[in-house]
Amino acid sequence: MKNIDLEISNKKIFGVLGPNAAGKTTLLKLLACVTMPTEGNVEIMGMNSKNNQKKIHQHLGYLSHELLLYRELTGFENLDFYSKFYKSPNIGWHRRIDELLNLLMIDKWSHEFIGNMSSGIQKRFDIARTLLHNPDLLLLDEPFSNLDLESQKMIFKLIHGFRGKKTVVISTHNIDHAKRLCDEMAIFSKGKLVRKIDKDKLKSIKILKLFGRILE
């Protein structure tokens, strides 16, 4: 990625759009402090990503392209393992995990090994992992991929519920999801920021045309 100058507003849902190899995943990895910039700076919640990874990770939930769960552990064991590294919520970890399992309707799979689950259920457990510590900043890389229509609707509703409460950055191919969910969005192509679009212009048909041109 080159010459990216981007500011993401607090407690807004920000969409990152673009075709394959546009740099969406790289941008999210940079924000998640998984990859470090070779030049320039990334500031997250006022903290430089190079020196404050531990602090940033306490407040950040990252849903990666890859499954960040251990296949040899059950769904519950995975969530229990991740919970050890974060500050305990008032309700306690077991109740928090139960709450998420119910919310994502995966409680009946909680004692099954992740490796034995379908990719859609794995994804829902990974979303539960991302939300586990109730992070202020959510980075969701293609949250609707590998999900059936019903699950997509559920995740859509869940993300919609974060509006005004959390800062959410979503990367997606799906312009319809982005238009309905996002307050702001940025369109990327070949590692470059093509355009940043605010909420007023989101409904405009021109975005579809612009995105279509990039995809071509």
């Binding site: 890859e66 960040l68 251990y70």
Partner: protein, 230 residues
């Protein structure tokens, strides 16, 4: 400061427990390591007469040879398995330092090698009709320090080599030269402890092991800061 240190120590324990849980559930490494160790003892026991005067000369080298190669088998996958299963980013997004991840893997490796030692040391002493003449406390310390060194180097090298396509070659090539300053004094100490009960004879080798461990620990702490970042 103390709270932060306690958090890091707890995190190291959680990481090691998770790896051990996965290991005992799937038996990825422990089965092959134990098989290799037991078969090695069996094969050597056929060629070395347990009542010959040479058995106490050969056994220390044999024991450490088995421990070293068990380590090479075990450690070649500690970080690489995470990378192959794409869970390496799970370590990167946890609110822990890279050094904590390294120490978690070191404790995991230490536990694996310790299990091998608990099994093979008594068996090899019986097969070769030998016993330690020194106080068993010294024996424990020698094997403890040797295993710590092996685990630390193994975990660090596994982390360094996880990005390499030819890591099965790279890991032993880097690991073996690094471990020699620990393994050679350990062999000499084990030999002394089998042959004599003179504890004062083993002090110089102890110093070499301790110095090497401190140097390796410092180097791994500094180096690992850059290993886990993509």
């Amino acid at each position: 400061m103390i709270r932060e240190l306690l958090f890091e120590l707890r995190s190291i324990a959680y990481l090691a427990i998770r790896d051990l849980k996965i290991e005992f559930r799937k038996k990825h490494e422990i089965f092959s390591i134990l098989t290799f160790s037991l078969v090695s003892i069996l094969i050597f026991s056929f060629s070395i007469d347990p009542f010959s005067k040479y058995s106490n000369e050969v056994l220390p080298a044999l024991l450490w040879f088995i421990i070293l190669f068990s380590g090479v088998f075990g450690f070649s996958t500690t970080f690489t398995r995470e990378r192959d299963q794409e869970t390496i980013n799970a370590l990167r997004i946890l609110p822990i330092s890279p050094q904590t991840a390294l120490m978690g893997k070191t404790i995991y490796g230490f536990s694996l090698i310790s299990i091998v030692e608990i099994v093979i040391i008594p068996i090899s002493l019986v097969f070769f009709n030998l016993s330690f003449k020194t106080n068993l406390f010294f024996v424990f310390i020698v094997f403890l320090l040797g295993t710590i060194g092996l685990s630390l180097i193994g975990s660090m090298v596994s982390g360094l080599a996880m990005y390499s396509e030819s890591r099965t070659i790279v890991i032993p090539m880097i690991m073996v030269p690094l471990i020699l300053p620990i393994i050679i004094p350990c062999i000499l100490l084990t030999r002394t402890m089998i042959l004599t009960n003179m504890a004062n004879l083993i002090i110089p080798e102890f110093k070499i092991i301790l110095f090497t461990l401190v140097a390796l620990f410092s180097a791994s702490i500094i180096l690992f800061e850059y290993v886990l970042v993509d």
